[in-house]
C-alpha cells in the first residue's frame, strides 16, 4: 500500500497524493459522502499524516474519557488461571475480585499451610517408620498400632483450616473492614464467600496430607466433619462475641480434648464414633446460629 492516494484522477487525489483536508474532515465527522471512502480507509492504513489529520477532527473529550477508562482497566489486575477457571464455571467476576482481598487465599499463606502440614505429617511418618526414634509409646487402638504418632497431625491439621477461615472473617485481617461494613454489599455474603473459599482452599492440602500420613485409611474422611464443625463453631461464636475471642475459643475447644487424648495415648478417639456424632451436632447447631444471627456480620464489631 503506497502512501499516495490511489484512484483515477478526480476530485479525490490531491496534488501531493493525499486526500484533501475537507474530505478527511468530512470522513471524521461521519459524513461518509460515498466517494472513495473505501480507498480513503485503505490510504489511512498506510499514511500517518492523514491519520493524524483525521484524529485531529475527532471528538477529543470523548477520546480523553476513553483513554482514562482504558488506563484504569489496565491498572486493575485481571487475575490468574484459577480465576479464569472459576469465571468459566459461572462464578461472577465481581465475586472473584472480592476474594482477592482475602489473605488466606494468597500464595504466601497457602505455602505456609503446606509447610506446617509437611512438618507435622513428616514427623508422624518419621516416627512411625522408625526413621527417628522418639519416646512415643506404641499406644492407640487395637488394629492401629502406633496411632499415638498421629497426635500432632490430628491436633494441627483442623486448626490450620480454622486459621484460614478465621483470617477470612477477622476484621484485623481486612484493613478496610470499616469500608466493607459501611458499604451496601451484604456483610454476611462477603463473609460466606471468603469463609467458604478459605475452607475449600485449606481443606485440600489437609486431606491430601491425611492420605500420606501413616494412619488408618478412613482418616482423611474422618477429618472432614470435625474440621467443618470447628469452622462453623468459630463463625457462630463470632456472632455472639468478639471475633478474635471466637476464633481462640474454637481453637481451644479443639486443642484441649486433642491434648488430653494425646496424653492418654488415644488421639484417634477425637475423630471416631462418638466424636463424629458430636461434631455433626455442633455443625448443625452452629449453622443455625449463624443463619439466625447473620445480621451481626452486617453491623460489624466496633470498638
Amino acid at each position: 500500500m503506497t502512501s499516495s492516494f490511489p484512484g483515477p484522477a478526480g476530485p479525490l487525489a490531491g496534488a501531493d497524493g493525499h486526500p484533501a483536508d475537507e474530505l478527511l474532515a468530512g470522513y471524521a465527522a461521519g459524513r461518509a459522502d460515498g466517494v472513495g471512502i473505501w480507498s480513503l480507509e485503505a490510504h489511512l492504513t498506510g499514511c500517518a499524516r492523514c491519520r493524524t489529520t483525521v484524529s485531529g477532527h475527532a471528538d477529543s473529550a470523548r477520546l480523553a474519557r476513553n483513554q482514562s477508562v482504558l488506563l484504569v482497566r489496565i491498572a486493575v489486575p485481571e487475575g490468574g488461571r484459577m480465576r479464569h477457571l472459576l469465571c468459566r464455571c459461572g462464578v461472577p467476576d465481581h465475586l472473584l475480585r472480592l476474594l482477592a482481598a482475602t489473605p488466606s487465599l494468597r500464595k504466601s499463606w497457602l505455602l505456609s499451610v503446606a509447610g506446617v502440614l509437611a512438618v507435622v505429617a513428616g514427623e508422624a511418618a518419621a516416627v512411625r517408620y522408625g526413621w527417628v526414634s522418639v519416646g512415643w509409646p506404641a499406644g492407640g487402638l487395637p488394629g492401629h498400632p502406633g496411632a499415638a504418632v498421629l497426635a500432632p497431625f490430628l491436633l494441627v491439621a483442623p486448626l490450620l483450616v480454622l486459621a484460614g477461615v478465621a483470617v477470612a472473617f477477622l476484621p484485623m485481617f481486612d484493613p478496610a473492614s470499616r469500608l466493607a461494613v459501611a458499604a451496601p454489599f451484604s456483610g454476611f455474603s462477603l463473609l460466606l464467600i471468603r469463609a467458604v473459599s478459605a475452607l475449600a482452599t485449606a481443606l485440600a492440602p489437609v486431606v491430601a496430607a491425611a492420605f500420606l500420613v501413616p494412619g488408618p485409611g478412613w482418616l482423611p474422611v474422618a477429618l472432614l466433619l470435625p474440621t467443618l464443625a470447628l469452622c462453623a463453631f468459630a463463625l457462630a461464636a463470632a456472632t455472639l462475641m468478639e471475633p478474635r475471642a471466637a476464633a481462640v475459643t474454637a481453637g481451644a475447644l479443639w486443642a484441649l480434648p486433642g491434648l488430653l487424648l494425646a496424653a492418654a495415648h488415644v488421639p484417634l478417639l477425637i475423630v471416631q464414633g462418638n466424636a463424629q456424632l458430636a461434631c455433626a451436632a455442633v455443625l448443625c447447631a452452629s449453622a443455625l446460629v449463624v443463619l439466625i444471627r447473620r445480621d451481626r456480620f452486617d453491623v460489624g464489631w466496633t470498638r
Binding site: 482497566r73 465481581h94 475480585r97 478496610a176 469500608l179 458499604a183
Partner: protein, 289 residues
C-alpha cells in the same frame, strides 16, 4: 441560622454512646442539610463516634438517627442508607499490596457496582477528581501519606453518594492539597449532604458554610462560622505583654500576645474575633481544653 429539623436530610436525636465509663456522646441532637457541614472539636470529643454512627458502622446506646428518612436499626433500611453513603473513616487501612485502581475497584464492588465496565468508568472518574490518575497502577504501599488520604477521599466518592461522611479528611494534606480538596467538594455532582470533621478551625472557616462544635460529647454550637466567630466578639484583644486576667493567652508570630476573655481591660486593643477564637472560648467554657 437554624436548620429546619423536620425537613433535614440527616437527623439525630439524643444520641448517646459510652465506652466503659466514658461517655463519648451524651445526648447529641443534630440536623444536616445539603451542603457542607463542619464538625469541629478536639480529639476525644466524640466526632469519630458520631460520624461512625451516622455511617451505620456503629450503634448508639440511646437515641435515634434518620438518614433520608431511613432508620439504621432496620436491616433493609440500613442497606438503603449504605447505598447512598460515602464514608472516609479516620484511620483507613488499605490492603497494601493492592494497586490504587485495584483498591478502588474493590470498593466499587462493595458498593454494588457489578458491571466491570461501569466500575472502570467510576474509578476513572474519582481518580480524576482527586488527581491520582497517574498513580492508577502504583501499589498503595508506595504512596505518600497525602496520596493515601486522597485515595481515601476517592473511594468515598465512588457511586456519587448522597451523604458524604469524611472523618478528618484534611489530615496529612499540605496547603495546596487542602485548596484542591475545597475545590473538589464544591464541584461534586448531585449536591450531597457533606459532613466533615476536623480539629482545625481554619479548615472550617475556609470550607464549611455550616459548623457544629462538639465538646465533651455534646453539641455546644450549631450555626455559621461567622456566628461562631461572633460569639467571641468584643472578647479578643492583643497586648504587648501577657495579661493574667484573660482566660486564654498566647503569643502570636508577631510577638504580641493575643488574649481571649470575658472582660477585656479598659483601653485594651480589641481585635476582630475569628472562628478559632469563638471555638477556643467555647472550649474553655466547656472546661474541655
Amino acid at each position: 441560622m437554624t436548620v429546619n429539623v423536620s425537613t433535614a436530610a440527616v437527623r439525630a436525636d439524643g444520641l448517646s454512646r459510652r465506652y466503659g465509663a466514658t461517655a463519648a456522646l451524651d445526648g447529641v441532637d443534630l440536623a444536616l442539610e445539603r451542603g457542607i457541614t463542619g464538625l469541629l472539636g478536639p480529639n476525644g470529643a466524640g466526632k469519630t463516634t458520631l460520624l461512625s454512627i451516622l455511617a451505620t458502622v456503629n450503634e448508639p446506646d440511646a437515641g435515634r438517627v434518620s438518614v433520608f428518612g431511613f432508620d439504621p436499626r432496620d436491616a433493609a433500611e440500613r442497606v438503603e442508607i449504605r447505598r447512598r453513603l460515602g464514608y472516609l473513616p479516620q484511620e483507613l487501612g488499605y490492603h497494601r499490596h493492592f494497586t490504587v485502581a485495584g483498591f478502588l475497584d474493590y470498593v466499587a464492588i462493595l458498593k454494588e457496582i457489578t458491571d466491570r465496565r461501569r466500575r472502570a468508568e467510576e474509578v476513572a472518574r474519582v481518580l480524576a477528581a482527586v488527581s491520582l490518575e497517574p498513580r492508577a497502577r502504583t501499589r498503595i504501599r508506595a504512596l505518600s501519606g497525602g496520596m493515601r488520604q486522597r485515595l481515601g477521599i476517592a473511594q468515598a466518592l465512588l457511586g456519587t453518594p448522597d451523604l458524604l461522611i469524611l472523618d478528618e479528611p484534611t489530615a496529612g494534606l499540605d496547603p495546596e492539597q487542602r485548596l484542591r480538596f475545597r475545590e473538589l467538594l464544591s464541584e461534586l455532582p448531585a449536591d450531597p449532604v457533606i459532613v466533615l470533621s476536623t480539629h482545625q478551625a481554619d479548615d472550617i472557616a475556609a470550607i464549611c458554610p455550616k459548623v457544629i462544635v462538639l465538646l465533651g460529647g455534646r453539641v455546644r454550637f450549631a450555626g455559621t462560622p461567622a456566628e461562631l466567630a461572633a460569639t467571641a466578639a468584643g472578647q479578643v484583644w492583643t497586648a504587648a505583654e501577657r495579661d493574667p486576667g484573660a482566660h486564654l493567652s498566647w503569643r502570636g508570630g508577631d510577638g504580641r500576645w493575643r488574649h481571649i476573655g470575658d472582660s477585656p481591660p479598659a483601653g485594651a486593643e480589641l481585635v476582630a474575633s475569628t472562628v478559632e477564637d469563638g471555638y477556643l472560648l467555647l472550649s474553655d467554657a466547656a472546661g474541655a481544653r
